[in-house]
Amino acid sequence: MIALGVESTADNLGIGVVAGDGRVLANVLDVHVPAEGGIHPREAARHHSECMGGAVRRALDEAGVNAKELDIIAFAQGPGLGPCLRTGATSARALACYLGRPLVGVNHCVAHVEVGRMATGAEDPLTLYVSGGNTIVSGYESGRYRIFGETLDIAVGNCLDTFARAAGLEYPGGPDIERWAARGEKLISLPYTVKGMDLSYSGLLTAVTAELQTGRHRVEDLCFSLQETAYAMLGEITERALAHTGKPELLLTGGVAANKRLGSIVRSIAEEHGAKPYVVPIRLAADNGAMIAWTGILAYNSGIRTPVESSHVNPNWRMDQVEIPWRS
């Protein structure tokens, strides 16, 4: 069994080729970098459609697979930016129809969890999934990934990216903020907003941006304080959810999983609660096609098919709406 996965929910265009036993044969990534500002959905979609053909070809070449050898075509059906999703879906439909192979629509957030489980060997983890667009604490329970906590407004990655832009740092913001934070010393008091197992980052972003504009602080200290506050909030809701669910494992996944400070927080919490910590490997952390292909394989093996006529994208598709038959 060989699956091709198309990921195009936001600024990353990813084409992955994955074998039925989980071997990643190719994982091609083509990132849209805006000339200025954040992601413009239409511009990102245009990038994806222009790069799609080349990315598919590169993925097949790298995998050493002929298109005719593909067994299924999986694509990220949601959640994400509408124009970007539609570009990926259109290409996936075209490939599936042309090759006469089944199409499998995959939930992008579920895919981040599944690729984390596959790559780390975690079986039944509580998962902290953090990226530019998502901040979700979830765990499997009776047929679905239940959401125990999530952001009430913007994602942690979005908060970091927007601040990084305001401070003239690189995009994406996480890595550069971590570099500057390493030279920070002073903890500036910033809003810390946890509501039960949910959290909020919009107030933190407003406050840290306002502190930046006063010109009174070193950027190093601002990065340090932003990182300490933002990740402590994540630590707290993760710990609450871990205590609440009693899961034996804790998995960190998504683009922000590459952050070392956050990784150390997750490990410390897991240790405290006797859970085993897992962090998704960097090459599978950011949005990528391999995770879509792999989740497509799991779904396909459980009998899930997405007929072309019902393969419309769903930009608001929550991960807790998805049936997970391969785990029941």
């Binding site: 949601g78 239940r146 959401i147 509501k195 949910d198 609450r240 871990l242 205590a243 608001n316």
Partner: protein, 209 residues
């Protein structure tokens, strides 16, 4: 006699004898993963707020543990030990009618709390104990005093999220009973319940109908 009865995410709970009373010692432990300054500040302010707000809730007529002693610097509260079962563990064991009655009463107390200006901040079934006939609200560590509709809405949304994630088998029934009780004790219930739905819709990826 000292016995560790729970290690929560935030605090250790130790059952002890306090001047002849069965008491619970709640200690907010330092978190290694947090910056020490941030950690100290959070533990101190939450300890103080919890003790204040437990009193306020009790005055409004919502059963809460009695506070015996508070030490904000060391983040310790000594309080009455409530012997009972967490509602979280009870829901699936009850009959249909009992379940409705229970959530009707819980909704009523939640309405009373909000009417008294108390936002619980972690309104979940893990933080409500059924002790004999009493329904006791605990863990006010994330509580605050506010009459803002927004904060009430967020509080109610927490309860509904708990019903959706943990008590999904009975979510609709429980939410309905909760709402009935909430409306009975809070004249501003409609506004808060409406806000609860708005808060939920504001979340990521909600079907917006």
């Amino acid at each position: 006699m000292e016995k560790l009865i729970a290690r929560g995410a935030e605090a250790d709970l130790i059952l002890t004898d306090w001047n002849g009373l069965r008491a619970l010692v709640k200690t907010r432990k330092p978190k290694r993963y947090r910056h020490p300054e941030l950690d100290r500040q959070l533990r101190r302010s939450r300890t103080r707020a919890e003790a204040d707000i437990i009193h306020r809730a009790k005055e409004a007529g919502v059963p809460t543990p009695l506070i015996y002693q508070v030490d904000p610097e060391n983040a310790v509260i000594v309080m009455e030990y409530i012997d009972g079962v967490k509602v979280r563990d009870l829901v699936d064991k009850l009959g249909d009618e009992e379940r409705t009655t229970l959530f009707h009463r819980i909704g009523g107390y939640a309405g009373t709390l909000h009417r008294a200006g108390v936002i619980h901040g972690d309104l979940t079934t893990s933080n409500i104990i059924k002790s004999g006939d009493r329904i006791v609200f605990i863990d006010f560590g994330l509580s605050e005093v506010s009459n803002e509709v927004e904060k009430r809405g967020v509080d109610l949304n927490l309860m509904n999220r708990m019903l959706t994630s943990t008590h999904y088998r009975h979510q609709e029934q429980l939410l309905e009973a909760f709402k009935v009780g909430y409306r009975e004790t809070n004249p501003e219930a409609e506004e808060a319940l409406q806000r609860m739905e708005e808060v939920a819709r504001r979340g990521r990826y909600i079907e917006k109908n």
